[in-house]
Amino acid sequence: MLGSGIINGLIVTAKNFVGSYHDPKRMVTVEYPEQKTVLPENYRNFPFLITENATDPMGTLRCVACQICEKECPPQCIIIEKSKDKKPDANGKMQIYPAIFGIDTSVCMSCQICVEVCPFDAIKMDKVFEIAATNRFEGLFLTREQLAKPNSYYHEIHPVEAAEVDERLTAERKAAEEKAKAAAAAKAAAAAAKPAVPVTVAGGSLPGDRPGQMLGLQSANNSADPGLSRASATPPGPGSAPPATKTPTPEA
């Protein structure tokens, strides 16, 4: 009969009205500045840099200033300047580090490409959305001091993803260690036979440029440290896609 739909609708809204007073679960909004909704795991907006140690953020940046993200960034909002010297990273290996690392969040379009191309898992997407500033030229341009956040923070905002990343990193580190050991053993064996092949290492050249086979040799040559850099063991090239498990992309 005509009108029954109207009455049904009125009943639905009446239920909403009564329910909204005693059932907080019904509410679709929260009182924003005081309360905040829990953002979903995959929420992302702007990138940040991961440091290994919260007490010394600038010293333990995972970023080695390889500039892949700078080149890949579609709106070109990342600016990186490499350092002249080298510093030991979290593993004690000597690495180039970014002297300047800036992201202009007023330009950034949150595409996450920088995260996907980074071979070092050094840049990840953040969940901070309250970034309003009074000055659009300085307030929204984040320097590396503002960008650097510890790995524990990453675990906090993206626990599943961060666990995967850490697991992979430790596995890679272990594999690299074993490889180094093997290489060291091979080197010891080879040293007995003939002198080592000198390999020149260009600081600015990309890790992926070199064939993986040579990496073990090169690292063994460069560093006396048995704990090898992660960079030497990372297989993918600059343009290749990361492993599917690394970061769940929206498509996946």
């Binding site: 005509l2 809204t13 909204s20 509410m27």
Partner: protein
């Protein structure tokens, strides 16, 4: 009290029995309080200006009461709509920070001061008049619309003794004053010198004219049964109770119920409210005929819309819901004007509830509903009321037949025409769109 006496009371306006019922209830102090207060204030003044003060006080009271009522209707609408959609609604604006006070007193008052914040915003906004506009008419339109929508309050009986103007042809006055709204809409659309405003004004006019017919036709049965146009007499005709608890309100008769439903739908459309808010559909048009209005003039139109809604609700309360009468005999100690305001608030809340529930109609559905459904049904309802008047003297067993026939006269056409209407609301086929 038997059913036959009930019907005899229904059919005659302000007959001896109703008048006796009205006089029997004691005029308590609270009942007379507003009038006593007015007379006291008037008597303070010198005699020559007393008549003027008498009328001025009435006008100021209407302005103040319904101005505040308007303000709190807007906040109630926003909060209620929010609750109907599982939201909280505005609850932030409160008292300003009072540095005079020694302690830091801050309370948001549940956002109740929101209308005042809105008013300040509207007043301080820039008043833009298009360069090509007809300046005088552009200015006059909001003035006329507010003035005439306020004039409609003059004939509503707000309480047993409170009626601003006691007119013999009060109902006719009400609709005559309401007719000027259409003129104001046309002036607003035409004087803006904007073709979209003009088109929207034409649409709004088409809607208002379409729905004025069922609105007036739904009131005719009341006039037929009470044989008067005076709102006061119509309220008095609804006094009394059957078996001591069933009030003689017209909404509790078959023809009255049908008339009330038609009146509600037509009133919704007349006051441009959802689901009939096509003239200024916020989510589709800019603001319809109000596109070129801003600031305080826009606020005046907004105000007039709410005044119109309140006045139509007041008329609905007066005609169908017993006006200022209490629903039950033992509740008569509550002053009549409070009953009126209570019923008025119920009507407004119902309108808000409907707005939070229903979807907007298309323009062809809108006019079809008026001309093919409401108008024939209202005409049938007039015949129904005539039947009701003719069968006033039927004895008790025949009363059941009377109720049955009267209900059938409205229910059977409702179901049949409802089927036809629902079928005609099938998805529209578009010629140029896929």
């Amino acid at each position: 009290m038997s059913l036959s006496t009930l019907s005899s009371q229904l059919s005659t306006a302000a007959t001896a029995s109703s008048a006796a019922a009205a006089a029997a209830s004691p005029d308590s102090f609270l009942e007379r309080a507003p009038l006593e207060l007015r007379d006291w204030a008037v008597n303070l003044l010198p005699t020559p200006v007393q008549w003027l003060a008498h009328h001025l006080i009435t006008i100021v009271c209407i302005l103040a009461v319904f101005g505040l009522f308007f303000a709190f209707t807007t906040i109630a609408e926003r909060k209620l709509l929010a609750r109907l959609q599982n939201r909280l609604g505005p609850n932030r604006s409160g008292l300003p920070k009072l540095s005079i006070l020694p302690w830091h007193f801050k309370h948001t008052l549940f956002g109740l001061s929101q209308p005042f914040a809105d008013a300040i915003k509207a007043i301080t906004k820039e008043d833009i008049v298009p360069a090509a506009a007809d300046k005088l008419l552009h200015f006059l339109a909001p003035v006329i619309v507010v003035a005439f929508s306020l004039m409609t309050f003059a004939v509503l009986p707000f309480g047993r003794n409170i009626i601003p103007v006691e007119l013999d042809a009060a109902l006719l006055y009400f609709f005559a004053a309401g007719a000027a709204t259409e003129l104001a809409i046309f002036m607003a659309g035409w004087s803006s010198r904007n073709k979209y405003s003009l088109l929207a004004a034409m649409r709004a006019l088409a809607q208002l004219i379409s729905y004025e017919l069922p609105l007036i036709l739904s009131v005719v049965p009341i006039v037929l049964v009470t044989s008067t146009l005076s709102t006061k007499a119509i309220v008095l005709a609804q006094s009394g109770w059957t078996f001591g608890f069933l009030p003689h309100w017209f909404v509790f008769t078959p023809w009255g119920f049908a008339g009330f439903i038609i009146f509600l739908i037509a009133a919704l459309a007349e006051s441009n409210r959802s689901p009939f808010d096509l003239p200024e559909a916020e989510s589709e048009l800019v603001a319809g005929h109000l596109t070129e209005y801003s600031g305080f003039k826009y606020a005046l139109f907004f105000m007039a819309e709410y005044f119109g809604l309140t006045a139509l609700s007041g008329l609905g309360v007066t005609l169908f819901l017993g006006g200022w009468q209490a629903p039950l005999p033992f509740l008569e100690f509550i002053p009549s004007y409070l009953w009126f305001m209570g019923k008025l608030i119920c009507m407004i809340v119902f309108f808000i509830w409907v707005r939070g529930t229903l979807l907007r109609l298309r323009i062809d559905q809108l006019t079809r509903l008026a001309w093919q459904f409401l108008v024939p049904l209202a005409l049938l309802n007039i015949a129904n009321a005539a039947f009701w008047v003719l069968t006033t003297q039927w004895s008790l067993p025949l009363q059941f037949v009377r109720w049955g026939v009267s209900a059938a006269i409205v229910v059977i056409p409702f179901i049949m025409m409802g089927r036809a209407l629902s079928a005609s609301y099938a998805p529209r086929s578009y010629r140029y769109a896929p």
